[in-house]
Assembly symmetry: C2
Homo-oligomer: 328 residues x 2
């Protein structure tokens, strides 16, 4: 039985999953139990994963191009009831949640930066479709979408995949970010992310790519070398409400941004995390969905962990210049 | 010129140190420029470090037992003026700060868990003495004390050392923690850490060691496997105000706690971070200094970074049981 527990000091939640083989967390020391060379995500091994919740097939229907399946080693269980309980001064919730894996391609050695435009569009479509479906569940408060690429970034399986976890609580950093954005909005009657976009356009030194509806840039106070954000240029609270045309444009921008990172940094390990408004909220003026890309070049030392205070040796302007320098 | 920059969304600060060889952050890829086998912290190489700010010598004065020196590759400069500036919608501060290294022992291959009681007491005394001195500087708002042990934990030099960084800002996680504690105090008129200590004593299943004035335990909502906290049992806001007797008792408890971690987990890499009240505040009812020990067994994956939401496969009760199981 897994559990959510809340630290009474900060309100920060942790999931405990005693006895479970956790595919993401202690990947280096507890890799999956498949033998080297065997990949449960490759074509022909479909029986090694649970049944699909979403599939994209080739035109003649003979082969899959993308599969979404429940995680075989989920951090959370969809059977649990997300009831709050107390235990002395402490709070806990049973480990309800839905944990799915997006197997993005049948090709074991491919990766996002190598995808065709169609493959990139399929991945983003799968993200949106699953988030739409999962957001209907009344027990779900937030849906995390993330992608770990490379063992240094926490990926235990090489085969290109991303993950979706729907949870009954609200993750601390996203909650803080939304709360800060709300205070900014109350004071200025403007969205802080919209203001950032205008400022980035005015300064023009940290932008990677700008299209009709999206922008990618290295943020002014990036925590990590070459950290990159992608935002819709027009205010929008929820990623999953994006229309089909914008979704395809976003997929292409993400692909081109990751290609630049792959070229400039020679295929670095990276994490990709979506920040979006909690699913049961309507459109809000203060929060603007975005995607964060974090190349894992730096080993995080003690005081970043302990203080939430980061050291970054590379100025965002210089990072943007380097990412933009190898364009064909 | 290094810089502090604030993310306008969360208020989170980052230090930028363009062009500098940063000893802690990207340690694996940019190790120090000393040749392998050469250690600037070993006896005989004192000229490779700046002059001491604090020393403990052997009784006859012929040899040092511990040296504190300014970091040769500081993240921050003590010459800069910590004036706030704006740049469009963004905020910045020049990179003022004081960055010192505590060379804890002349013995290159020793480590905290192997120290004699006297060595442990000397280290804690050095921490306190330097924090006392640095806290007088009116430009300093917070003093970070941390220790990275092992390359996995971000240490670039093997020789046992800890670090002190005095900064003109208030790190985000500590600020959040203090703010949460203040709200708890306003509501309950009690310190949340004092309440945690009582709860841990009542439940009795996560405690490692308890002495007259200190307690070490695995916290209820530990983010990391075997994460361990040490707190003074009686309410105290500031680490550096600890009296000599308590300081020695704390050093011994820290030593014994690290010994248990070293035995149970076979000398894991770890980080150690002090959380204390900002230096210019007096005694406060709501905040209680403590030390966090984080063994680096897990590789942190994308969504922990992106959400502030941790996955921990080991229940704190089980962690405490294992840490307590190998006692002589």
């Amino acid at each position: 039985m897994s559990l959510f527990r809340r630290d009474p000091v900060t309100g920060r939640w942790t999931i405990f999953t005693p006895g479970k083989l956790l595919i993401e967390n202690i990947s280096v020391r507890h890799r999956s139990d498949t033998a080297p060379g065997f990949c449960p995500f490759c074509p022909g091994h479909e029986s090694k994963t649970p049944n699909e919740t979403f599939t994209i097939k080739s035109q003649d229907g003979s082969q899959w191009k993308l599969r979404v399946v429940p995680n075989k080693f989920p951090a959370l269980s969809s059977d649990a009831l997300p009831a709050h309980e107390t235990y002395g001064i402490y709070d806990l919730i049973e480990g309800f949640g839905i944990h799915e894996v997006v197997i993005e391609s049948p090709n074991h050695t491919s990766d996002f930066g190598k995808y065709s435009s169609e493959e990139a569009r399929n991945v983003v479509r799968a993200w949106q479709e699953r988030m739409k479906v999962l957001s209907v569940d009344k027990r779900v408060r937030y849906i995390m979408l993330f992608r770990n690429c490379g063992a240094e970034a926490g990926a235990s399986l090489e085969h290109p995949h991303s993950q979706i976890i729907a949870i009954p609580i609200f993750p601390r950093l996203v909650a803080d970010e939304i709360e800060s954005s709300r205070r900014y909005y109350e004071w200025k009657e403007r969205c802080v992310f919209c203001d950032i976009i205008h400022e980035e356009q005015a300064q023009g030194i940290r932008i990677l790519i700008e299209t009709e509806n999206f922008i990618s840039f290295v943020p002014y106070a990036a925590r990590f070398p070459y950290e990159t954000w992608i935002l819709p240029r027009r205010h929008q609270s929820h990623f999953y409400k994006i229309d089909d045309k914008c979704r395809d444009e976003f997929a292409e921008l993400l692909l081109q941004t990751l290609k630049r990172i792959d070229i400039a940094l020679n295929l670095p390990p990276f994490n990709l995390v979506l920040h979006t408004t909690p699913c049961h909220e309507g459109e809000v003026g203060h929060y603007h969905w975005h995607l964060e890309i974090i190349p894992r070049l730096a080993r995080i030392a003690g005081f970043e962990w302990g203080t939430g205070f980061y050291l970054n040796p590379i100025l965002p302007e210089d990072a943007a210049k380097k990412l933009n320098s190898n364009l064909e």
